[in-house]
């Protein structure tokens, strides 16, 4: 058995269904041996998107996403995708081909020190020097990527190692134990009891959920806990969908781009449970307010996140699913918090901001996202890109039983189409909608061909305002409308682009025909593209 066969075997042992990737000589031995396997391959159109596809796939399937590319430029192109996954703690294996072992370090054709380059964006990386190490490395890599705080792991494999005959018999390790890596799963019992006591005592408790709740698969436990103890819930951008957005206990997204009433609810609480959230700057721009006059409990699987941005009263390290199961197993629970919830409902009513109606020939983004949300299936997957479209999506899309995906930490433009592609492959029966601006569309439109090649049907909505809207809005506020590097001229005719890729094209340029168009647009499981004309001067707030 040669190295390339061993890699394929390892992936089979890990039940890998699909690999997103790109070819190149340095990874060719692997692509050759994958032909003998049932593992599906998806040839994307630029390497960065292989990682985004793997990310979307991982987030929907709950499994580790796998991507593979060649050495040098193939590997460096992948970096933004890896960094995006790292920022959002997405479990991923990135395999890169490398030049021959004895050539490493001599700057030969298509050589890049990829393990060095990605060091600050990966949970771990390997450069395989001995073909017999392959089974152990893959076992470890999958284990590291999918446990503790999840994240991408990169495996760099020289061309000669892929072709080399193993001298030891292939044996995939059944179990694994690493003395230097032992993530905490179970929460400390004393701390758990303390938290429960605080929940019982609190008059104005609130839970703020982050992406960790999805990663841990703890949404059911969380909802049960909130309902049982009558505790309202707010979320960060990554936490959207952990509780249905129309749940009576849900009070919106926090942060600069979130709801004012969600921030107020968090600040005025007397007990804040921060669950699987980093307390990052976009969610909490004033950490002092969320510790002031209250008990703050920070629950996270990564001990380094606790105390990094804010000092909690009670730190609790462990897997959220386990911890909430423990919470639920306690006999004691809080009485209702009627008064507090009433107050929050009042805030919500009072602080609801009304948007100015859209000008003639344009669609009001709020009305559009609300209509889209209503027209979508309850279990649909909504992938928002980055920019104004992301903020509008977060604000107005109602997640029911589906999922809401976006690049929260890194804010990578062009994430939505490839992530939706990966998500659709993980859940072929589900409706998958990607919402993006004309800027991000032009960063990722090459993947329309990938969709067509593999028959992956996505609903793509381009909110076209002829600008890089989010930054235009910033320049409107910060530079007195002195616009620089934000106007997109020369945009292609999207009806022709749709035709070129065999997609049906829809255009919406006013609120009146929006619902009818959306119904038609979403009806069949086919790839459709909808262009929504948005006022270039529209703001997110």
């Amino acid at each position: 058995m040669i190295g390339a066969e061993a890699i394929v075997k390892c992936l089979e042992k890990e039940n890998t269904e699909v690999i997103f990737g790109y070819s190149g000589v340095a990874i060719d031995p692997f692509w050759n041996k994958i032909l003998d396997s049932d593992i599906k391959t998806v040839l994307i159109r630029t390497e960065q998107n292989a990682a985004h596809c793997a990310s979307g796939y991982a987030r929907i399937s709950g499994k580790v996403g796998v991507c593979a590319v060649t050495s040098g430029p193939g590997a460096t192109n992948l970096i933004t995708g890896i960094a995006t996954a790292y920022a959002d703690s997405i479990p991923m294996i990135a395999i890169t081909g490398q030049v021959n072992s004895d050539m490493i370090g001599s700057d030969v054709f298509q050589e890049a020190d990829i393990t060095g380059a990605v060091e600050s964006f990966v949970k771990y990386s390997y450069l395989i020097r001995n073909v017999n190490d392959i089974p152990k490395v893959f076992k470890e890599a999958f284990y590291i990527a999918s446990t503790g705080r999840k994240g991408p792991v990169l495996i760099d494999i020289p061309f000669d190692i892929q072709n080399e005959e193993m001298t030891e018999k292939f044996a995939y390790p059944e179990t694994i134990s690493m003395r230097s890596y032992k993530p905490t799963v179970k929460g400390n019992t004393v701390q758990i009891k303390k938290v429960i006591k605080e929940v019982e005592k609190a008059k104005r408790p609130i839970i703020c959920v982050g992406g960790g709740v999805h990663l841990s698969g703890a949404t059911q436990e969380l909802i049960k806990f909130a309902e049982l103890n009558d505790v309202p819930v707010v979320s960060t951008m990554m936490g959207i969908g952990a509780m249905p957005s129309d749940h009576p206990l849900f009070f919106g997204m926090v942060g600069n781009n979130g709801k004012a009433y969600a921030n107020r609810a968090m600040n005025e609480s007397d007990l804040l449970l921060m669950v699987g959230a980093r307390v990052a700057d976009r969610a909490v721009n004033r950490p002092d307010l969320i510790t002031e006059n209250k008990v703050m409990v920070h629950i996270d699987v990564d001990p380094a996140e606790i105390g990094k941005n804010v000092g909690p009263t009670i730190p609790l390290v462990g897997d959220i699913k386990h911890i909430f199961a423990e919470f639920l197993a306690q006999d004691d629970h809080a009485d209702d918090h009627k008064e507090w919830i009433e107050t929050l409902r009042r805030y919500k009513e009072e602080m609801m901001t009304l948007r100015a109606p859209a000008a003639e020939g344009f669609v009001d983004p709020e009305a559009f996202i609300r209509a889209l949300s209503k027209a979508m299936n309850d279990d649909a997957i909504y992938v928002a890109d980055v920019g104004q479209n992301q903020i509008w999506s977060c604000a107005y899309h109602i997640v029911k039983n589906g999922r809401f995906l976006t690049s929260g930490g890194m804010g990578t433009m062009g994430y939505s189409i490839p992530a939706a592609l990966g998500g659709k492959i993980a859940a072929p029966g589900k409706q998958v909608v990607a919402v993006l601006g004309d800027g991000a569309f032009q960063m990722s439109m090459m993947e329309l061909a990938t969709m067509r090649q593999y028959g992956v049907n996505l609903k793509i909505i381009v909110m076209n305002n002829g600008y890089l809207g989010m930054v235009r809005e910033h320049q409107h506020n910060a530079y007195n409308d002195n616009y620089s590097m934000v106007k997109l001229e020369g945009d292609p005719d999207l009806s022709l682009i749709s035709a070129a890729y065999g997609m049906e094209y829809f255009k919406v340029d006013g609120n009146s025909d929006m619902e009818k168009s959306l119904k038609k647009f979403l009806k069949d499981d086919s790839s459709n593209l909808m262009e929504v004309m948005v006022d270039p001067m529209a703001l997110t707030r």
């Binding site: 600050s120 003395r179 230097s180 380094a304 105390g307 990094k308």
Partner: protein, 161 residues
């Protein structure tokens, strides 16, 4: 605040750069960093001296622990450990100051380990603070070159908290 981190790591290629990279990426300060083997050839010990506020000290320990190649991190104050650094210092001397230099060496327990007609190399093994004092004492002489190892440290046999 000064802290010493005694970090046991897997003795693998690239580990030093990963740990050093962590300090630069997270904007942590490194006063000194020493790496050497331990009794177990598969394990290396890094001794890192760093200064920072309380939050930084906590973050350094947590971020070090997060690195997959790190087996164990011990954080301690200087008072809790025996700390040593080795310095080699090359100085120019002449007839007038030779005796002075030798006296300083005796006081500070330093040894002259190499000599020529007008230059000598002095070796001293002591705490960083005392090495600073020794350098200060030699400032009146012409110092040619200095090489310092950085601090290595072990917690005291009876640990004082």
């Amino acid at each position: 605040m000064k802290r010493i981190y005694s970090v046991l790591v897997e003795n693998r290629a690239g580990v030093l750069s990963k740990v050093a990279g962590l300090f630069s990426r997270r904007n942590f300060n490194i006063d000194s960093m020493v790496v050497g083997e331990t009794a177990d050839k598969a394990v290396s010990c890094m001794t890192i001296v760093s200064t920072g506020d309380e939050r930084t000290i906590e973050q350094i320990e947590k971020q070090l622990n997060k690195k997959i190649d790190v087996i164990k991190v011990k954080t301690f104050k200087e008072s809790m450990s025996i700390n040593r650094e080795l310095m080699l210092i090359k100085v120019k001397y002449n007839k007038e100051n030779r005796r002075d230099i030798m006296e300083n060496c005796t006081i500070m327990n330093a040894q002259i380990v190499d000599m020529s007609k007008n230059m000598m190399i002095i070796q001293i093994c002591d705490t960083s603070d005392r090495i600073e004092v020794f350098i200060e004492m030699l400032k009146s002489v012409s110092i040619v070159e200095i090489a310092r190892t950085g601090t290595v440290a072990l917690t005291k046999c009876r640990e004082v908290n």
